[in-house]
Symmetry: C2
Subunit: 533 residues, 2 copies
């Protein structure tokens, strides 16, 4: 079956559009999780038309397809289909930026466009527009992240909420255009997501109902004024107060960016490696080592980073309001472009006389954040997965798969209250401790009343015992969170079955829709929506 | 078939839950459009359980159901099903406010809750929370408006974007809960709309795939500072510049409310009646009469109203930015609570010495706007449909159906550019003129890069010639807008077939989903999604 399919695909895409050699299949089978799956071939379409051809062959031959945008879904399943022997549809060669509209501030892009590619385009063409970037590194796909409902750090941090006009190849090869894209000459396709009639875009996120070949992402005009704010609280217990002080600011629309609150371990793992020598080769980190590293890094137990944008006087007003809101908890540091340039200069000076290590450390952890808050893609967050590697690669952070990283994200959604943040920590902290893992954590104030907690189990894939412990830790933590009603916003292959309880009407309805639109369950079988065959 | 069904419904709901007398059926058959439909009975469920019973009987007996929330969908189809002989499911007795959460600023409500009811609750319980209201009057349903993707005037003007956690009765009687509502104890259901897996809520807007029995609407904490702004431009041609000056403010997030730009006729029709005596009984209004009324009302050709909220200093900054943005076009008037109270006092004083008519006129048109910008339900917009009535009712504005109003909305979506606003006016103005109608118009800057144009054909239903002209005007205007790519965001029964072109994959996919979820096409057959039987 798959041999016939591969022949047909080769005929449709040309020899360079299909790979089925062992080296390629091995590469696509790699995973940061404990177990992945191996595909039967990899397809590289260059156009929507070629994707239609791929789908038609798959339907005729009954081969499951698994589309990936650029395959950088580390920690959430990487490039692996839920099922063995799928044909990977690697959309990375569809990487055209089809339109950038500076008047209405949007870009129409294909799935292969990376964060860096769009960023470079916006800079080179002096568009005056900012994008939102996630911490998934410069090479990751904007479309892929949007379809997994990922998020970044700016006012447009909610990627699904700032996208419109999907082009989708359906399982039978038809092309569906959403918003007003299905009307001849539809004028508002890129600026108004809902269109008229049912709003279908949500169906195609975290699911398997079609292959998305194009979307519009909204961009932000460079604001008149920009201030990063950074606030540290020393005491671990102050997280509760921090969330409760920031919530009214977010609810009132004073804080408009996707504010991140990171613990010390998250910052440490983004800027360095696990201190094996100081810990006698053991995990988790002894409290005194952790305290010292925290102190050296100039960080608190919890560290807030966000951005204030608007007119100069609006930003000034927001700074004052923020300062007041957190009074008694900590003093926010505000950093604008001028201050940052100055601080860099000072740090260089202090270094030259041997006094600047601590300050430089702080700056080092600040600068990538500073960039992300302006939507600049950053490579630094890719350090995190290397945290426990016994033989880490040298040089700048690289693809976690190349480095041999193990990584499983745990990402529950919480109401934006200190109470809920505390409840989540109380559920997961003992689990991580039991399995001898440190727990890097962030809480992102994603919209005005909810936040996403991001915890990660990072491990060294070359050590089977550690990998087994990581899996056990993940299972226990996620099961406990779900039992308490803190459901993940997103998950990898291992987590998907955990989301589906028998007889849940939600998943039954999703399956009914799947059966209607993809009766042979050809596209991404088992991705979120349980298999229907 | 329907007799058996009515018996079964009477058994399930009790006698008071079913009406099939002629007077009731006549009342539900009324329409502000030219032609409506007559139902076979009206059902009044009091609970989700009763809605499930209703659906089961309908499926067994093959009777089409048409759910309405409170039936105030004037100008977009009123209470009329697309098909004759449907059973209306009137949800107005399901009017519980199930929860108001002041910490996270949301309310969980049933479809029968009116704007006024939620507003009163928020006031009486001193919640310190504001809601968003549409101009559809105090009695209209918040759920109904949200499901039709209606909009209001505040920062939360986009009702679908500020809702979460739907409870839906499916065609087979199952209950679907979205967001995390289908998980036992799901904590973030009311604060995070997407849940995990496909985001299904959009399916249930402007469609017919289920009966929504509960949603969460987000509320706003009363801001520290509030300023209404009001800006008039004299010259009709200045609309283009106005939109282009306001767009950067909206794109930058400086203007955050759903700014409305209304022409003189829209304001005149909200505050008075057509000047039949001055126009010799003819329409449209002669230019000199229009100019005089505009002058007397202290209004311009185009009139902008919006709100600035935030901290005091943020609002001050936004005022300054707005003033600068529109420099040369007009001077915005800013009105806060203090100023409004003062102005009322002054107006009363001026009136008492016979000098205040013009100012009072302006205040009169300002005050309802002022309220709506704070989310107060207002009755004044219900005056508009009475514009051409030859024998208008006396007293305050009432239900347009009681007054004998004819009303058909035309509501294209446009990119937020002056060019597009001009293009839409150039398409529709000649059509209205040809059919001898004045054209009240607003453009609402709904999100950061699109706007909705709202034009209405208001007519006197007692005059068949005028009704026929209204229909011809509507058809010609909508057909021309669609041909040029300006597609309506929402439509009444007459407009629905215009949205569907044969072979459009979008509607085919919608029909596939409909067949999967409601194979007998029992719920609201023909509502947006074309009949599948």
């Amino acid at each position: 079956m798959s041999e016939t399919a591969i022949k047909a695909w080769s005929a449709a895409l040309g020899a360079s559009g299909v790979a089925a050699d062992n080296a390629t299949l091995d590469r696509y089978a790699r995973t940061t999780q404990v177990t992945g799956t191996r595909p039967v071939c990899v397809l590289y379409p260059r156009s929507t038309h070629e994707v239609q051809e791929i789908v038609r062959v798959a339907a005729a031959q009954g081969v499951v397809l698994y589309p990936i945008s650029r395959g950088k879904n580390w920690g959430y399943g990487d490039m692996c289909a839920p099922t063995e022997g799928a044909a990977i549809v690697d959309l990375s060669r569809m990487n055209r930026i089809l339109e950038v509209n500076t008047e209405l501030a949007y870009a129409v892009i294909e799935p292969g466009v990376s964060q860096q590619e769009l960023f470079d385009y916006l800079q080179e063409h002096q568009t005056g527009l900012w994008m939102d970037s996630t911490g998934a590194g410069p090479d990751s796909s904007l479309v892929g992240n949007t379809l997994d409902r990922g998020f970044g750090h700016t006012r447009y941090g909610d990627h699904f909420a700032t996208a419109s006009g999907f082009e989708i190849v359906m399982a039978d090869g038809r092309v569906l255009n959403t918003s007003f894209g299905h009307y001849p000459n539809g004028k508002a396709t890129h600026v108004y997501p809902y269109g008229v009639g049912p709003y279908l875009d949500g169906l195609f996120c975290q699911s398997n109902l079609g292959i998305i070949t194009r979307i519009t992402v909204w961009l932000m005009p460079k604001p008149d004024a920009f201030q990063l704010f950074f606030l540290s609280v020393k005491d671990e217990d102050k997280l509760t107060a921090l969330v409760d002080r920031l919530r009214p600011m977010r609810l009132a629309g004073i804080l408009t960016s996707a504010v991140h609150i990171a613990n010390d371990l998250r910052l440490l793992s983004a800027t360095g490696r696990y201190p094996w020598s100081e810990t006698g080769g053991k995990t988790p980190m002894p409290p005194e080592v952790r305290a010292r590293l925290r102190r050296d890094g100039g960080m608190g137990a919890w560290n807030v980073a966000g951005a204030l944008t608007g007119t100069r006087s609006q930003v000034r007003g927001a700074c004052a309001a923020l300062r007041k809101a957190v009074a008694g908890l900590g003093r926010p540091i505000f950093v604008g472009d001028t201050k940052l340039a100055l601080a860099k200069k000072v740090a260089r000076g202090l270094n030259s006389v041997g006094l600047g290590t601590r300050l430089t450390g702080k700056l080092r952890s600040l600068i990538p954040n500073y960039g992300l808050l302006k939507g600049f893609p950053a490579i630094e967050p890719l350090m995190g997965p290397q945290w426990l590697l016994r033989n880490p690669p040298s040089g700048p952070p690289c693809d976690p798969l190349d480095a041999g990283c193990g990584l499983i994200w745990i990402s529950p959604v919480l109401p934006m209250t200190g109470r809920d943040a505390r409840a989540v920590l109380d559920i997961v902290s003992p689990v991580f401790a039991k399995h001898a893992f440190d727990m890097p954590a962030t809480f992102t104030l994603l919209n005005e009343r909810s936040m996403v907690g991001i915890l990660n189990v990072a491990f060294d894939k070359s050590l089977p015992e550690e990998a087994a412990r990581a899996t056990a830790c993940y299972d226990e933590a996620v099961d406990a969170l779900i039992a308490q009603g803190y459901i993940p916003y997103r998950t990898g292959l291992r987590g998907m079955p955990k989301l589906v309880q028998p007889g849940d009407t939600f998943w039954e309805v999703a399956q009914q829709v799947k059966r209607a639109l993809d009766p042979s369950d050809i596209i991404s079988r088992g991705r979120y929506i349980p298999p229907t065959k």
